[in-house]
Structures are given as C-alpha cells and as structure tokens.
Amino acid sequence: MNRLAPKVLPGFGITLGFTLTYLGFLVLLPLGALLFQALSNNPFDFFRSAFHPRALSAYWNSFSMAFSAAVLNTFIGLLIAWVLVRYRFFGRRFMDAVIDLPFALPTSVAGFVYSTLYSERGWLGEFLGQNGIHLTHTWFLTVLVLLFTGFPFVVRTVQPVLEELDGDLEEAAAILGANRFQTFIHVIMPSILPALITGFSLAFARGLGEYGSIVFVSSNLPYRSETGPVLIVSRLEENAINDASAAAIVMLMASFGMLLLINTLQKRRQSNG
C-alpha cells in the first residue's frame, strides 16, 4: 500500500490512468489481437508455421542482414558523430541536417533509388558492371540499404553524449601519459559505450523490421533471400493469415528479446562501472 501513498507531485493517478489506457489502445490491443490470431489455431499448427523451413530461412536472412548492417553502422555512425562534434568546418550544419534524411525519406523510395542506381542500366551499376561487379539483388546491396536506413540512429544517440563529454578528462589523460589510443579506449569509450549500444540496438531493430526498401533491393527468393517482413506480407497475399501471424509473433518475440537483453546488459554494465 505504501507504494500508492500520496506523492509530492500531484496528478500521478490521473496521468498514470491516461498513460495505461493510451498504451493499451495503441500498443497492447493490436499486439494482443495478433497473439490471439496466432493462437486461435491449435498450438501444433502454430509451431509448424512458425518454424516452417521457409520461415526459418527468412528469420536467418533478416537477422544476418540487420546484424551486419547494425555492426557496420555502429562504426560508421560513431565516426560521423565524432566528426560533427569535434571539428568545425564549412558546411557542418548542412551535413548535420542531411543525417536526418533517412528518417524522413520513405524507405520504399530509398529502396527504389538504390535498386535503380545499382542496376545494369543505372549509371553506377553500369560502371560497376563493366568492371565485373554485379550488385543488383545481392545480399551486399540489401545490407547497403540497411546501412542507409539505420545510420542516423547511431549518430543521433552518440552525438549528444560526445557533446557532453568533458575535454578536461582527455587533457588529464594526456598529462598522465596516456597516448591517444589509450585515451580513446580508456577514457572516451566507457562514456559513450551505452549510447553506442543503444544506437546499435535501434539500428538493428530497424533492420529487422524493414520492408519498404528490402522488397526492392533483395531478390526475395523464398528459402534463399526472402526476409521476415517480406515473408509475412507474402503469407498474407497467399491468404495464409495464420502463417503470417505465426511468423510475426516469432519476429516480435525475437526483436523484443534482443532489445531486452541489450538493455539489461547495458544496465548491468552501468551499475558495475
């Protein structure tokens, strides 16, 4: 009962009620409906559709693409954030604004532009093709698009932390005889790591759920290059709603589990350090 004792700040009850109802409507109700749909058949059918060979290959494709892209994005995003925060140069503000474009651009447009640009008829694809490099509908191009859609997440989470970082610490490290590499690893890295991990998990989750661009750049071959979200839409088109919702549940659980794991690890790290 003590937890519900009057708080100093008024309005707790009414705002909590509002929040719970709102979340219930927008998040829990649809997710509940999805779960209900998936479990309305017998559990055997659910497992059969959720772990169908085609679904397994789709999960793996989504996971491997999103993971590779997120790892690369973590490095590239950190680099970009570093440049934006630490240096002053002409066009910095413009560059800063450009970072947000992937947020605003519909991913289907990104997918279409990438696939056209790198096709044998596109000017970049034509040039690469003459040199024996064919990228259209390859795993590599898909990861490239995920790099595009994901990197603002890393930049935007790391950037504020880097800005807050006190220059004194680095000076102190230098005075105490640390070389630049040591300063980076032992002084800067621990402070930005949580933000970096958050950026990674956001980019990763984005990649797992990506549909609009992947449907254009991937070859979407079932059992081979089809990803989770593409599989789900494909299942819906086949009027196999139960298969679609089973795959959706697995994707949801996997993403949620992974985000939870990353957050927990991060919390533990913070409390230890």
Binding site: I14, R54, S219, N220, L221, P222, E237
Partner: protein
C-alpha cells in the same frame, strides 16, 4: 488507495474521451456521400480500362438514364483486393483475375461462387493470354515455353506465391511441358524454370520495371495487355513473343451483393454488368489489348490477337480446388520447386 484508483480511472476516461473524440472528428471530416456512388474494386492492371469505361458512361446519355452515378475505382493486386473486399471495402462490383481469389469472396458469402452463370450470356466479358517479352532482335531466339529451358536465359516473373499472373504462368508452363512429355517431366521442368529466375518481384508491374527499366533478365513472362504497353513504351527495345499455348485468363467479375443491397445499387450494378458487353465497352477493351468477347469487335482487331492454343484448368487438374491443392498450397509443387531451386 481508493482515491488513487478513482484518479487512475479519471485518467482512463479522459483518454477514452480523447480517442472517441478523434474518431468522431475523422468521421465528420470524411467526405459525405452525395449522389449514387458505384465502387468497382478490381485487379491492378485494369486501372486504365475502368477509367475509360467510366468516362465513356459519363459522357454518354446512358449516364442520365442511370441517374448520373459517381464511379470510383479501387485497384490492387488480385489477392489483396479480395482481402480488402472481404474485410469490408464497400465495393459494389469486384473483378479479380485469379479464380481462387474470387472463391475467398464466395466463401465469405459476398459474391456468387459461379460468377459466369450470373453474367449476360454466361461468359466473361474478355479473356487474355500469357506471353513472353524479349530484348530487341530476340538474341536467344525464344519462340515457345520450351526455349526457357533449353536456352541460357534469365527469366523474370513475379513471385508465384503472391501474384495471380505468376501462378497462371506456372500453370501454362507446366501444362505446355506436360503435353510435350509427362506430368513427372513437367515437374522437373518447373524446377529448372525456377532456377532461372534471379529475382521475384511481388507483382507484374514491378517485374516490368525490373525487366524494362533496370535491364535485368533476358525473358519476361507476363500477360498480353501488359506486354503490349511495355513493348510500345520501349520504342523498339523490346519484342513480344507468343508461345503456342497459354492459359485462357478470364476475369471473374460480378456484384458484391450484400454491399449493393445496403447501398441500394443492385439495379445499377446489373445495368453496368450488361453495359460492359456493348460494343463501346468492348472497343475500349480491345484498345487496351484485352481480347473482347464481342465477335464483331474482335474481328476488327484480329491482327492484334492471333489465335492461341488455349489451356484451361480442366486440362491441368480438373478444377481449381485440385489445382490449388497440387500446385499452390504449402508443400505443393510450386513450394517444392522453389525449395529445389534454392539449393544451387
């Protein structure tokens, strides 16, 4: 404690009021239905025909006699459209180019399962065939389905798991190969065909983009009206090839009775469904390269529509239910072929 529960409830009430208010506002803001309105939900590539039909009606005295109805069109892939209508899209008329999609609506009690019997004369207003599109000069000398196997070509077609036309292409190809060999050899040929497909786009239109604009693949399997448009647009860079045999594609078309009843448009829909058999409507079909039913109109355009050795579902599997069972259900022939093709 009690006070807190009450204030939590108050918050919940406030949220509900907000949500209901927003819903109410969106209802008020949505356009009101004025005069009679007819919504035709149709498959993707019929967009231009329907627009031309409706224009023709609006411009002719027919419109007045019908009470100047407003025509509206909804276009999407055949399967997506079937789902939309089943889930409540208030379409008075539906037309779908893949029979099993129609049966989704029939099972939901929205349309008559035997749509042909409800149409004037018991026949579909048009039919169409599957064709191949190749690059200028036909460098691989593609003439028939067989050449897709024997020539070193990459084949572009939509995903047979999602696209109605791709499924019809699979059926055409399989039946043509069965006639040349046996069911077992046709099965193997289908696997070989799947191995030659470098990318599955979700729909026929996206395939056209892949083939014509991105320049991927050597042969595209598509249907006649789409191929015409594509070839005309390419200004000589693409050529149309007609295989000797093709599935006879007929659109399932008819009234969505419960919707028409509630909107009071039953009579109007009946008139509409009769009108599309008239020469002006049939002429529009021919203009957009759909083979018209009307003999006179067909004769006028006969050079555009050379004869084809038609394949029907009876030839392949007896009926649609069996065909879906054999070819398209999970673990069916198409699924097996895709799986085999993935192991390269």
């Amino acid at each position: 404690m009690n006070d807190y529960l009450i204030s939590i409830c108050k918050g919940a009430m406030a949220c509900l009021v907000l949500v209901v208010g927003a819903l109410f506002l969106s209802l008020v803001a949505s356009p009101r239905r004025g005069s009679l309105e007819l919504l035709h939900a149709s498959f993707d590539t019929s967009r231009e025909i329907l627009a031309a039909w409706h224009q023709e009606i609006t411009d002719s005295p027919v419109s007045n006699a019908w009470g100047n109805p407003n025509f509206r069109i909804s276009n999407a892939g055949s399967a997506a459209q079937a789902r939309a209508v089943r889930d409540g899209l208030p379409a008075d008329i539906a037309s779908l180019n893949f029979e099993p999609d129609w049966q989704i609506l029939a099972k939901a009690g929205l349309v008559a399962s035997d749509w042909r019997s409800r149409l004037p004369g018991g026949k579909a207003p048009w039919h169409s065939s599957l064709v191949l599109v190749v690059r200028k000069g036909n460098p691989h000398d593609i003439r028939d389905w067989e050449d897709l196997l024997t020539k070193p070509v990459k084949v572009i077609m939509p995903n047979p798991k999602t696209s109605g036309v791709a499924r019809l292409a699979v059926l055409s190809f399989w039946e043509a190969r069965r006639r040349a060999g046996s069911p077992a050899s046709a099965d193997i040929d289908l696997i070989s065909l799947c191995k030659k497909v470098p990318v599955f786009d979700p729909s026929m239109r996206t395939c056209t983009t892949t083939f014509a604009q991105k320049g991927i693949g050597d042969v595209q399997i598509t249907w006649e009206p789409e191929a015409w448009l594509e070839v005309e647009e390419s200004a000589g860079k693409l050529e149309l090839i007609r295989p000797k045999s093709s599935f006879r594609i007929e659109p399932a078309i008819g009234m969505v009775e419960p919707v028409a009843k509630s909107k009071g448009t039953i009579l109007l829909v009946q008139k509409y469904l009769e009108w599309i058999y008239n020469p002006p409507a049939q002429e529009i079909l021919a203009k957009y390269h759909f083979r018209p039913l009307d003999k006179n109109v067909a004769k006028l355009h006969q050079d555009q529509f050379p004869p084809v050795d038609w394949i029907t579902i009876q030839d392949i599997a007896g009926d649609w239910d069996k065909a879906v069972e054999i070819f398209f259900k999970d673990g069916g022939l198409v699924d097996r072929a895709l799986r085999e093709a993935a192991k390269r």
